[in-house]
């Protein structure tokens, strides 16, 4: 299948969002991208698992996009994971529906990159804090890529925000074009770093 990206987006108060709003704004016109706004679709948390499963089947790259509230994702994301990733479908015996698909987190966080250190304030690195997502992906036979991160969201300037949204777009386009290898990407702790490595003038 040609690359199609499914953005699973959860934001409980999107009307106040600036960073996530701009990220979505700058990618929504790309035809190969489907944006699945979970809090708008399922505000009662009554997820239509059959529909979600067929969406997953139609795409080969999945993005969990969310603000990194309290070192995790908003509840509806977890709810989605619990309900949609069914035993015997996503994992377990006969659970091959998601085999080989790529998945990564796209997160926005108020903390700076430097704050996420082992033994520091956050106790673990950002990559390590994302292990629950990584393990979820691996258990479903998916390939987990490093996250795309927007740091320092409370103090980020308009220009910085615009730039980083542009980087997000370019990364997604690169993925759509197949212009990468996962092993290359996995050498880096985040997608941003991988991208800057290829295109230094974006730094």
């Amino acid at each position: 299948m040609s690359t199609k990206i499914l953005i699973l987006f959860t934001h409980p108060r999107f009307e106040q969002s600036q960073n996530n709003a701009l990220l979505l704004q700058r990618i929504k016109d790309i035809p190969e991208i489907t944006i699945n706004d979970l809090y708008e679709k399922y505000p009662d948390f009554d997820i239509d698992t059959e529909h979600e499963k067929s969406l997953l089947q139609d795409h080969n790259v999945i993005v969990w996009q969310h603000p990194f509230y309290w070192y995790s994702a908003p509840p509806l994301m977890k709810h989605w994971i619990e309900l949609v990733l069914e035993f015997g479908w996503a994992y377990g015996p006969g659970g091959n529906a998601l085999k080989g698909k790529l998945v990564f987190n796209c997160i926005t966080t108020g903390m700076q990159k430097s704050a996420y250190t082992r033994g520091g304030q956050t106790m673990l690195t950002l990559r390590e804090l994302l292990v629950p997502f990584e393990r979820t992906a691996l258990q479903c036979n998916m390939e987990y890529l490093p996250p795309f991160v927007v740091h320092g969201t409370h103090r980020i300037s308009k220009d910085e925000r615009w730039n980083i949204a542009g980087i997000y777009r370019e990364i997604l386009e690169k993925i759509i074009n197949g212009d990468f290898t996962s092993n290359e990407i996995k050498k880096f702790t985040c997608l941003n770093d991988w991208f800057i490595n290829i295109k230094p003038n974006y730094a």
């Binding site: 009307e15 505000p43 409370h154």
Partner: protein, 622 residues
Amino acid sequence: MNFLSQALIYLAAAVICVPFSKRLGMGSVLGYLFAGMLIGPFVLGLIGEKGEDIMHFAEFGVFMMLFIIGLEIEPSQFWKMRKMIAGMGSVQMTGTASVIFFIMLFSGIVWQTALAVALAFAMSSTAMVLQTIKEKGLSQTSSGQAAFSVLLFQDIMIIPVLAFLPLLAFRSVSESYNINPSLIDGYPEWLQVLMFFAAVSIIFIAGKFLFVPLLRIVAKTRLRELFTASSLLLIVSVSLLMQVIGVSPALGAFLAGVVLANSEYRHELESDLEPFKGLLMGLFFIGVGASLNFTLILSKPTPIFLLVLAVMTVKFIILYANGKLFKLMPDQNILFAFALSQVGEFAFVVLAFANHLMIINRELTDIMMAVTAITMTLSPILLLINERIIDPRFGVKEQPENLEPDEIKEKNPVIIAGFGHFGSTIGRFLRANGVEATILDHNSDHVQLLRKMGFKVYYGDSTRVDLLKSAGAENASIIITSVDSPATNQKLISVIQKHFPHLHIMAKAKNRAEAYELIDMGLKNIYRENLHTAVKLGIDVLVKMGKRRYTAIRQGQKFLKYDEETIPQMAEYRHNQKLYILKTRETYKLEEELLSKDVDYYPAADDHSWDSTYIRESLNKE
């Protein structure tokens, strides 16, 4: 002696003797029997030959009892216990009847008579035993269930037994001189059987196409006494039909009951006829007591008491063996065997009918009836002995087991009173989740329509205590009051609070005004009809106007919570200001108060959930 003095004697006897017998723990049936014996020709001699006429009148009470039994048979309950009912029941009846039949034969009685007596004696007393079981709380024990199964089987067996008796008569040696010439006299037997089945079919067809529509028409008049009159008319006509054909009228009444068991009027019929049944049954037993031939008993005490002993022993042994066969524990088995060892009131019916058909002569009938009455008298004494002396010797007492899904189900735990739009939505939701509620509604058209759609709805005025009882209110745990009219709803609630205080009431309120009333009545679970729907619509409006859906929903939730809180507040305000006195002032003042509260309600102001703007501003201040 004119009618009034007769009535005085009967009623006085009943009113004096029955409370006395109940006091002694012997049940009302014995009380009536004693009353009859007392006023009968052998003791006080207050009633004599005239007793015969009263008997016919009171026989009607037996018909009613059978009608109600037919009415109350629940096919699903029956099906679940089918093994026990068919198994234990058939063993008991065939066993008992056979042994007694042979005893009679050896005593030199002709086989037709012996058979009739054997069949009569095989019956136990449904009324007495069920009452005892209920009173002692034994319904869920294995002895209670065994007793119930056997009795139910007997109840059903009455049909074939009563139908069978006339066939005995035509082969009997005595002259076929009938007091009520029947239609089928003189026809060949096979034709008579055919006509019998034809009669039964007529009852079933008439039930569907005549009885129920008739009741529907009468129900529309909303005159309760008319409804009662129609039900009595029903029983009378069916009984008469059967009598004319030469079959037991009691059987006809039973069939009519079965036919109507599935109609929406079941509970209404039960509650309307209950008082009549009780009174007429009482009269019946008084009549039986009066017709007990003491002269005969006193002239032949030995054979009679020997017979009593023989019959009760035989029954006991067979019951005990039966229980053992079906694996009852010893202590339960003894209780079961003692409880059913008497000969029951159906024996009177069978014996009387057999006598009427000249299968049994007068003297033998009197003896057998005396035997029956004596066994009924002894039965509670036996149970008392069991309770005091025998039972305590058993170490392990059986606790009422947790029921398997296979066993009897108690009546539904949920009752819905009022099945309009609101009630029916609840009913559908509960049913979709496996909860089948008992439903009552007072609109006969409505009931008819709902039944067509597959709901089990019962017709009746749910504010009546007897109807609620009949619908199982004593055993239920929840009642949903969703009657349309607030006045009726509140009346219903006060009836429930008074008579069924254990019932958890979940009340619908049409609007705020009704909600305030219900709070004043002490209710906590009040559900206003329109609240959630109006807020839901409001949420959708916000979404259409561009708000994020999740935010709109949260706002809706907050508003619901706020609005619910205003209910007790406003109820108190209304009470304190005594606003309920003047209706016009009430509405205006309450509206005013509510709106002034709303002004201070601004949930968004303090809502900093996920408020990044707020965080940003605070951080950037530093």
